[in-house]
Symmetry: C2
Subunit: 206 residues, 2 copies
DNA sequence: ACCTGAACACCGTTCAAGT
DNA sequence: ACCTGAACACCGTTCAAGT
């Protein structure tokens, strides 16, 4: 087959296809991506350096859906919007999380997101230590919650290790499908309160 | 080579070897485990059903190091001890986290840990919904924090996406190596406060 | 019961060859 | 510049064969 007059492949198309495979089958391999695109495996390597770069491109796709940091908003609302969009973006593609957490972030879109968040916090009066702590806590919260949606740690129903009185007690929990959502929102509210206290304790001079 | 008079392999030995490889090289493959044990690859399959079972055995090794739920302790201290040991156990083996989060928990030791925690909360007066929320939040916190230790999301130094005034501002952060530890502890304190409020709002009748 | 060697269907990556 | 086919060193898993 001759070279097409117009390139049929691109980094983004490859990453999008891989993400699609993750969503539908829970995994992706380089040959599968090639087959999905009707192209030979080696063709992909003209656009991405390897599998790791595809994963990093997926990270970029997700980070591109984070809520932009709005500078005209009070910091609690801005942080909340950012955190929710972060968690939602990852939770919408649970199968992508294991490969993503397995490699260091180099995607510039993602790095810029953290930079923008740090800048917003600084302009809101947070000092260096508080900014570092705030982002650490928010990151823990969002990633933990995203993992929880994709692969809940606890089997709430029919967990053989939970004795039956407890089983029936938990059976009375009314949360159901809202469990992960409610847990995240409560964690977020607590984190925002903690951040407010961090800000209040700030030395005037930063 | 004839069959040894005493079995040289066992499920636990295999899992321990795999965890060791993860710690030292960041990954493990079935052939590598076999080689490390001086045994042929197919021998392993007499003790474990496959790679997934090895990963699940690793989960059991880590869960075995969680602090036992002490029933004579006030719930906040018991929860704190449990959460710290959970986070520490995973953070000590960061390379194990990606394979672990990629598959559903079936390890009985781990399942029993969650069961014991739920039981302790119930005896402390938490209702079904509160227990489910509490465990969800604690799980998010510990897993997020463990991930953070192994593979920090943010490159705090030399992140090209953070402009240089911000870079110097963050350079003034005094946290350093304590960052992850402090972030987790702050998150834990906030979570415990939230749980206390949850308990206070509990209807008398559970 | 427990270990082995050989085989199978895969995987990620490279590279000379085509247009 | 962009796609291809063939090759390479791997991987997880199975299975008949040995003691």
């Amino acid at each position: 087959m001759p070279r097409p007059s117009q390139p049929i492949l691109s980094r983004e198309l490859i990453c999008r296809t891989a993400l699609n495979l993750l969503d539908r089958t829970g995994r992706f391999t380089v040959p599968e991506v090639a087959q999905k695109l009707g192209v030979s495996v080696s063709s992909l390597y003209h656009h991405v350096a390897g599998r790791a770069e595809i994963v990093e491109g997926i990270r970029g796709l997700l980070a591109g859906r984070f809520a932009p940091i709005a500078d005209d908003t009070a910091w609690p609302a801005a942080v909340a919007a950012w955190a929710r969009s972060y968690r939602d973006a990852f939770a919408a593609h649970p199968a992508a999380i294991p490969p993503l957490v397995a490699q260091t972030i180099t995607d510039p879109v993602t790095l810029r997101q953290y930079g923008a968040l740090a800048g917003m916090l600084a302009r809101s009066g947070f000092g260096p230590d508080s900014i570092v702590l705030a982002i650490t806590m928010l990151d823990n919260l969002c990633l933990g919650a995203a993992l929880d949606v994709g692969a809940p740690s606890v089997i709430w129903d029919d967990n053989p290790a939970i004795d039956s009185p407890m089983q029936t007690a938990l059976g009375r929990a009314t949360l159901g499908a809202d469990r992960a959502e409610r847990g995240f929102e409560l964690g977020l509210a607590l984190t925002l309160r903690g951040l407010a206290e961090l800000l209040a304790d700030q030395p005037a001079e930063v």
